[in-house]
Symmetry: C2
Subunit: 260 residues, 2 copies
């Protein structure tokens, strides 16, 4: 791929699939800022977390794209597979930035660990590439991404100017509504929360039971510096996220164990 070395090379991916409105909006937002390559799943991959395809083959197909990108590819793989394929099979180099999204629906708080959008961004961070995941708090397929696009442009501009600390990616969540209704952008920590799961039970035509995962989001965090509080107050939340999962604070406890 011939690329202007003066302009940043930006990889765009997502987990809602290459034809979702959210990835089109993100591509539009970053096109003025660099040369763009899109590599994204060929179908929705929400909730895929950091899954990689190791027990199956992967397909990668160049596709026509309605925006002036350098190239666009769809893949049968997960969002993380897409980042790997983009680096090692499409670009043959590391891009200067990975952006993922804009997700249709929130990835705040504990959702970060289930999110394919954020796992793609984290895979960028593992590869030492500045990476950002964007999510809009609206699940609908035809959500209004106008304000989110402006915010994505602003945050990506800052990332290209100031950089992101190595090994860190950003989890950006954007409230619904128009730009003028959003009060600003807040750097936050991830709220402590969980899903109180409910499984809907149904019967197939043969009478055999099956389940659908549903559930209620439970925020158990009373701090005022969390992403949940920012979003409730109509601020964009920006959480810096890393992949060192070590719970350093728990080491003292473990040293008291009787381990031979």
């Amino acid at each position: 791929m011939a690329q202007d070395k003066q302009r940043p090379l930006i990889l765009v991916t997502n987990d809602d699939g290459i034809f979702a409105k959210g990835i089109l909006s993100l591509t539009e937002a970053v096109l003025p800022l660099g040369d763009v390559v899109v590599v994204a799943p060929d179908r929705p991959q929400s909730g895929m977390g950091h899954a990689v395809t190791i027990n199956n083959l992967l397909r990668l197909n160049q596709v026509r794209y309605e925006l002036p990108v350098m190239a666009a590819y769809s893949s049968s793989g997960t969002p993380v597979d897409c980042v790997k394929l983009a680096i090692y099979k499409v670009m043959h180099r590391k891009p200067d930035l990975v952006v993922s999204g804009i997700n249709h629906g929130s990835n705040s708080s504990i959702n970060v660990i289930y999110s394919g959008t954020m796992s793609a961004a984290m895979e960028g961070a593992v590869e030492s590439i500045p990476s950002i995941g964007f999510s809009l708090l609206d699940h609908s397929a035809d959500a209004d991404f106008d304000a989110a696009k402006e915010i994505a442009y602003q945050i990506v501009s800052n990332a290209l100017t100031h950089g992101i600390p190595e090994g860190v990616c950003l989890n950006v969540n954007i409230p619904q509504g128009r730009k003028k209704d959003i009060h600003g952008i807040r750097v936050c920590r991830q709220a402590r929360a969980y899903w109180e799961d409910v499984f809907e039970v149904r019967k197939d035509p043969a009478g055999k039971e099956y389940y659908w995962l549903a559930g209620e989001f439970r925020n158990t965090d009373h701090g005022d510096d969390t992403d949940e509080v920012a979003l409730q107050n109509n601020f964009v939340s920006v959480v810096p996220v890393h992949y060192d999962l070590t719970a350093y604070h728990a080491m003292t406890h473990l040293h008291q164990w009787k381990l031979s």
Copy 2:
């Protein structure tokens, strides 16, 4: 399920599938310590990370199991789905401990984020249940789990006695070899590493290309307190892991950005 309230209720799961040798070994290891329920995937789910099934139905089938457990179920879902189904559809309460594995192959270092085994343990931690993932550094289906079983018994005994700090799970990796060749157990941090990916290119019978993900593990961490160093020196590595992914150290940097 009638359960003796004097004995801990232990959930056993994995990502290699309910009929793998590793989960049988783990079940054997913990049977003397509590009442055991097995809920595990009906087929291998390696590399599934923290994936949850939200775009498809879930099956859950009671199966015959060759060990004296209270009940055993296989599910069409991911390891994380299995933990959710176990709590909300099988046990109808939280178990006192979740153990996952014993995985056929390492989940040390960066592998923790790709690992279905560790994601099951992390889902336990999200549910505030003491949880441990076990992995043996041997990929083969008929690996020798004898030493790993002894170590799992010892670590689970300690966890039941001393508890695990809330919101933390343990990532336990066990070297190959006999018990006498293992020098001990070390509490460590996750080594910084990544996979240098290689995609093997093949052609299907119609002549169309497809890819297989392969790659080389690259440890870029020179510290001597990591899980990789412990394992290289034939120690069992125990890394406490949490799901607060906030990179607190990066917040100062972000406060310098020009964000409206």
